[in-house]
Symmetry: C2
Subunit: 354 residues, 2 copies
């Protein structure tokens, strides 16, 4: 394999020196880009776009053509795994993802099987290889999956939820059932991420979108240990390069010390925590990714630049910071503000790395 | 004024010794109680219930007739203030609160006035006096208001919001406009809470439901200082008794040290933080209120008892803890589980106070 032309993101994730702070954007291939909406229209719906490797490659590359981003991220969805388990994922307009066959009873839970990623999720692996090829070693490719708990939320609730009443009832009343789902999910995610690595992913990220809805004790029993199980089962090196792992629990700012201890290389931060304080708490155990409030991108380029400067200043001197938003970019973001953010990160971060 | 027969909650809020840990429940008069639903049906809709002091008194007392709670809380809504400002509050089924005339432009913002609570919110003061009389000094009455930032969210967004796009755009692009709204709100809330105290409220609580949606820096600029302004303007003593103040920022677990420094007597905790760790962080500056996951009440009395025991054990020995849920009780809660929680708090907490 040829060497990466820009490996700044890889180095920052591993806390190695860089010349500037690298930047990518969660959901960087998305609805705020007119070219994305055009491709999606051609695809028909969201899942058809995910399942078509040509089109998934096309949209993955779109933000890189616009902005000098330091990484690409696979265009896909966290719910591909439960879909491959046979649960029937679909998207209903305005209501987000739903499952035709959510987990209703005990035998459905006992019957859950770990899908073979190279069979049941072949379309994802094809997309990964094709994107990797198309990237031509310009920047690294990030693969990803949902956390076991986050996947379980959708599998049990049947879709998005405000109060997580069903899964939390199970958690408190039938914890052993939930542990069974989580163990299956953890094995499924491990196999899935490793298949993505084999197919060409150079960084992997676990999205724990709903772990932050748990109590302190429940997070440490039902979300974090399963992410630890995944991290410890990941392929560590491929073609001579280390594959860094990033764990992102939205709303997990209180638990950074515990997250830093599971063996991941980097922690994704949402925008509610001061990144300098986060750095002081995790020390040199992990790198940090984040954490501009996505709403800053509703303002204007001058404000964006100033707010980027504040995040960089709070992190301070030295490596170990990958700039990102604290959550996915909103569909209502003017692309010019995203451009201003990327430019500001590259320009304003240099003094912190001299 | 006669002395309170049960002043355990008052003493705990002020970190004075008590014989057991007092307990009340956020939204304790609510839809999980069949008798509440009957009264509400008679009233017509939610705001008619709030605006009728007889009926507001009736529902305020209902949970106390069922459970040996250590405090009553005024039945009302945080949005009475913007309603009194002329914004036209209404509730549309399934969509939560909305305003007929949200703040659209600069002159509407500049024209905002502080409503006179004894005129424009007379119905609230009437309810407070009437409830206080009906309580017959059994337990203290809690008055409350929304935080200036939380009120501003509804006033600018026009209703509930997922991403707070409008108010955050204002925050980043026109911060001085938002500061103006917040200053008006802070003055309105101060006058409102003081009028509640004059009418008979013995404890006051500020609900900062959406402060947790802000970045660390924005919280410290746009939410916390305005709660500090309120707290420092509150009547401190009435009829020889201190009026304790409670500040509750949902999702504010990262900011406890700053909240403890604004002069409030107590901090409300949501369920995501371990209350023992919270106590270690705030020391003897404030008491703590919380913080059982409301979803625990979806389980059964045995589990409820065990989970109550864990919260009490985490807080540990000594006073300064008022037991509560970490958020409002869900409408889907079986009342028997609420009863089990109250009983468990009273019974299991005694050893921690010996």
């Amino acid at each position: 394999m040829t060497k990466l032309k820009n490996d700044t993101c890889l180095r920052a994730l591993l806390r190695q020196p860089t010349e500037y702070t690298p930047v990518w954007v969660m959901r960087q291939a998305g609805r705020y880009l007119p070219e994305y909406n055009q491709t999606r229209e051609r695809a028909g719906d969201f899942m058809s776009l995910c399942k078509n490797p040509d089109l998934a490659t096309e949209v993955t590359l779109q933000p890189l053509a616009r902005f000098p981003l330091d990484a690409a991220i696979l265009f896909s969805d966290i719910l591909t795994i439960p879909d491959a388990m046979g649960m029937g994922l679909y998207f209903s307009a305005g209501e987000g993802p739903k499952f035709e066959r959510p987990l209703h009873n005990e035998w459905e839970i006992r019957d859950l099987i770990v899908p073979d990623p190279n069979v049941h999720l072949r379309y994802v692996m094809d997309a990964v290889s094709q994107i990797r090829k198309a990237l031509n070693n310009e920047v690294p490719l990030i693969g990803f999956a949902g956390s076991p708990f986050t996947l379980a939320c959708y599998m049990v609730e049947g879709g998005s939820s405000q109060d997580f009443a069903k899964i939390k009832t199970m958690l408190y009343q039938r914890p052993e059932l939930l542990h069974h789902i989580l163990d299956v999910n953890a094995r499924a995610v491990t196999a899935y991420l490793n298949a993505q690595i084999e197919a060409g992913a150079q960084i992997v990220m676990i999205y724990d979108s709903w772990g932050g809805a748990l109590s302190h004790a429940a997070y440490h029993e039902f979300s974090l240990p399963y992410m630890e199980q995944i991290v410890s089962g990941l392929i560590r090196e491929r073609d001579g390069a280390t594959i860094p792992s990033i764990v992102f629990t939205k709303g997990g700012g209180l638990w950074l010390e515990s997250i830093a201890a599971i063996g991941c290389d980097s922690i994704g931060l949402d925008w509610t925590i001061d990144i300098g304080q986060a750095r002081a708490r995790v020390g040199d155990k992990v790198s940090l990714q984040g954490n501009l409030d996505p709403a800053v991108l509703f303002s204007n380029p001058e404000v964006v630049r100033a707010e980027v400067g504040k995040v960089l200043a709070s992190y301070g001197k030295g490596s170990g910071h990958v700039f990102n938003l604290g959550h996915g970019i909103s569909q209502f973001t003017p692309p010019d503000n995203a451009a201003a953010m990327v430019a500001a990160v590259h320009e304003l971060s240099k003094p912190y790395h001299s």
